[in-house]
């Protein structure tokens, strides 16, 4: 579970990628360059990337409406993701998915889901397929503290438990579901729910520390890969932005102090400091990395602009593998 220097740098790079991509997407929403909204992972990068780095390239994952962070964390190129948010033909789903509803099978991303909780069974099924086929792949399901109250999670945990499926249930506890504080709608502690379903439940209290997340998820992934079944990992983290970009709520459901405190433990700042302090990289190298990523995001933006809109007729494709002639 120790990472090479390259991997450590890749960890930071992916976190920065998420931050800059999401910042850009946020701006694009405000400028009307993205139809609808997007949900950023800004503030949650350590949680996302720490988890993804614990997976192999061939491993599977499923996610939710906070939907670009996960594939970026798993290694997706940025251009097709950005183009997807704009609805272009070069989008990773050809513009048919859009934010919330995208997937990048090339990196094992089996689908983010606009329906809260709905993709948890999908990751569980991918783990079933690994088990039956014996191909050693592990699955990870990302979901929020809000989704932790959807019943399908417990059906999935139970099924994974009895079949000893290689799956990790990763709860991104950013402490709010939209406007609703988790503690007002969650009875008990999420990680503690694992025990009753016969699996380890781990709570990463400092979810802003990428290594802490990485370590916890790596243990779970090893366990899964060894055939010892599922683990529930709850990571405590925080989103800096509003639930979704452009949303303005009348109530002040999050207190300003709270936000300030979390901003002080920014996962990217923390990890950069760690890398520099441990001699993995210099400040200059870190600056260069940041610049490279900014450039990558700019190119992704350009790609999203240059890519043409899909032909209207594309709306009538991809419903079935063999078209059954739906056109009107």
């Amino acid at each position: 579970m120790s990472l090479t220097n390259e991997e450590l740098l890749e960890m930071q790079r992916r976190m920065v990628r998420i931050r800059r991509f999401d910042e850009r997407a946020s701006k694009m929403v405000k400028r009307g360059q993205i139809p609808g909204t997007v949900h950023t992972s800004i503030g949650q990068e350590a949680q996302v990337v720490g988890a993804c780095m614990a997976l192999g390239d061939d491993d599977y994952m499923s996610g939710n409406h906070r939907s670009h962070g996960h594939p970026i964390g798993k290694g997706s190129p940025l251009g097709p993701l950005m183009a997807e948010l704009v609805g272009k033909s070069g989008g990773v789903c050809g513009g048919k998915g859009g934010s919330l509803h995208l997937a990048d099978f090339a990196v094992g991303s089996l689908g983010e889901s606009g329906i809260v909780g709905s993709s948890i069974p999908i990751a569980t099924g991918a783990a079933l397929s690994s088990k039956v086929l014996g191909n050693g792949k592990v699955s990870l399901a990302f979901f929020g503290d809000g989704a932790a109250n959807q019943g399908c999670l417990y059906e999935a945990m139970n099924l994974a438990g009895v079949w000893q499926l290689p799956v990790v249930f990763l709860c991104e506890n950013n402490q709010y579901a939209l406007s609703t504080p988790a503690h007002t709608v969650t009875s008990g502690v999420i990680a503690d729910r694992a025990a009753g379903f016969g699996m380890p439940g781990v709570r990463v209290e400092d979810g802003q520390d990428a290594m802490a997340v990485y370590d916890a998820v790596s243990t779970a992934v090893e366990r899964a890969r060894a055939g010892d079944g599922p683990t529930l990992v709850e990571v405590v983290t925080y989103r800096y932005n509003e639930h979704s970009e452009g949303l303005r709520l009348g109530t002040d459901y999050r207190n300003a102090d709270e936000r300030t405190q979390w901003l002080e433990r920014d996962p990217i700042v923390l990890f950069r400091r760690h890398l520099v302090e441990t001699g993995v990289a210099t400040d200059e190298e870190m600056d260069a990395l940041e610049a490279e990523v900014l450039d990558e995001v700019e190119q992704a933006f350009q790609f999203s602009q240059d890519s043409p809109f899909p032909d209207p007729e594309v709306a009538f494709r991809d419903l079935y593998t063999e078209p059954i002639g739906v056109t009107s």
Binding site: G87, G97, T180, R248, G250
Partner: protein, 354 residues
């Protein structure tokens, strides 16, 4: 009379119903913060006059976990034991999570138990089609609920109807599902100052006409009216009927209209197969066949899922142009069959959170 938005009318109906009867409670995700704009005053700010949490307290404004199945089920159980819950399910696309409770409990309990139960419960949800909200946020699932005996299905298309029908829904002792049209949220209309309700099963004749009957549902109503205006200029007189409730359905009004016009077009934003349009067509093909002078044409959303891209989505829904073409077709003109891709429109966008 006063002018209200469709969304405001829903809020007003909820407020009046809660004031009128202590047993009315609101249950749903993010209702405390008025995220969807129907549990606050005008505007979305808690500070504004009329915040529901302040007015009615947290005993009656119940902010829930994201657990649609138990929310719906608990509302049913509560309705069976003395409350009159309004459940706010936000997007219609989330109703599937609670399908068992809708079908096996809400729709069946009174019947199975030989009338022992009554179920005064309203399930509200909004259909967000046409706003690039993607396949998980664009469903228009009322036809599948129409196939479930025991539920009442409401599809208001104007502020006046939204308010009056919702009030009836709350006051009814049977389970009601209302499907609100997000594209109509901002539309304004006249609404009486005083409390009122609109009986279920009474269609509204939105526009009178003599050549063709257009039965239009939900957001297709304003499109049908726009088409009718255009067609009037071409010398075709269109009668537009809004059924307002799909269960019960005002079959008599539809049959009567077709018996005068001899022609029927049904405009329905649901997917085509087994749509409300299919049902209305089938009723007329059975009950008013003798009056029919032309094929019954359905203008629906084709049987494909909803793509995100603004280049793809808008072409799919019934609009004034498709409805116009359909009317021309049944009046004998040769036109292309809808939907023909329209090219890229500027996308509407919405502030509603997902």
């Amino acid at each position: 009379m006063t002018v209200m938005s469709y969304l405001g009318a829903i809020g007003a109906a909820q407020r009046e119903a809660m004031e009128a009867d202590e047993r009315v409670v609101i249950i749903g995700e993010d209702v405390e913060a008025n995220v969807y704009g129907t549990t606050g005053g005008s505007g979305k700010s808690r500070a504004d006059k009329g915040d529901f949490l302040q007015m009615f307290g947290s005993n009656r404004i119940r902010n829930t976990p994201i657990s649609e199945e138990v929310i719906v089920g608990a509302a049913i159980g509560a309705a069976m034991t003395g409350l009159r819950p309004i459940v706010d399910l936000s997007y219609s696309s989330f109703l599937y999570m609670a399908m068992d409770q809708f079908v096996n409990q809400a729709a069946k309990n009174r019947y199975m138990f030989g009338g022992q139960a009554s179920l005064p419960v309203v399930f509200r949800s909004a259909m967000f089609y046409g706003l690039n909200t993607g396949a998980h946020h664009s469903d228009r699932p009322y036809p599948m609920f129409m196939n479930v005996p025991g539920l009442k299905i409401v599809v208001p298309s104007s502020p006046y109807d939204a308010k009056g029908l919702l009030r009836t829904a709350v006051d009814t002792d049977d389970p009601v599902l209302t499907f609100e049209a997000c594209t109509l949220w901002g539309s304004k209309g006249e609404v009486p100052e005083e409390e009122y309700s609109i009986p279920f099963g009474q269609a509204r004749t939105v526009r009178e006409g003599t050549d063709v009957t257009v039965v239009a549902i939900s957001s297709a109503v304003p499109e049908a009216v726009a088409a009718a205006e255009q067609l009037a200029e071409e010398g075709i007189s269109v009668e537009v009927i809004d059924p307002r409730t799909l269960v019960p359905l005002d079959t008599a009004a539809i049959v009567e209209s077709v018996s005068r016009t001899g022609r029927l077009v049904v405009a329905d934003p649901a997917h085509r197969t087994c749509s409300a349009a299919a049902e209305i067509s089938a009723i007329v093909a059975e009950e008013a066949f003798g009056s029919l002078l032309a094929p019954i044409v359905r203008v629906t959303t084709p049987d494909t899922q909803i793509p995100f891209s603004p280049a793809l989505e808008k072409q799919l829904y019934p609009n004034r142009s498709y409805i116009g073409d359909a009317v021309r077709r049944v009046t004998g003109e040769r036109v292309s069959v809808p939907p023909t891709p329209e090219g890229v429109d500027d996308a509407l966008s919405t502030q509603a959170p997902r």
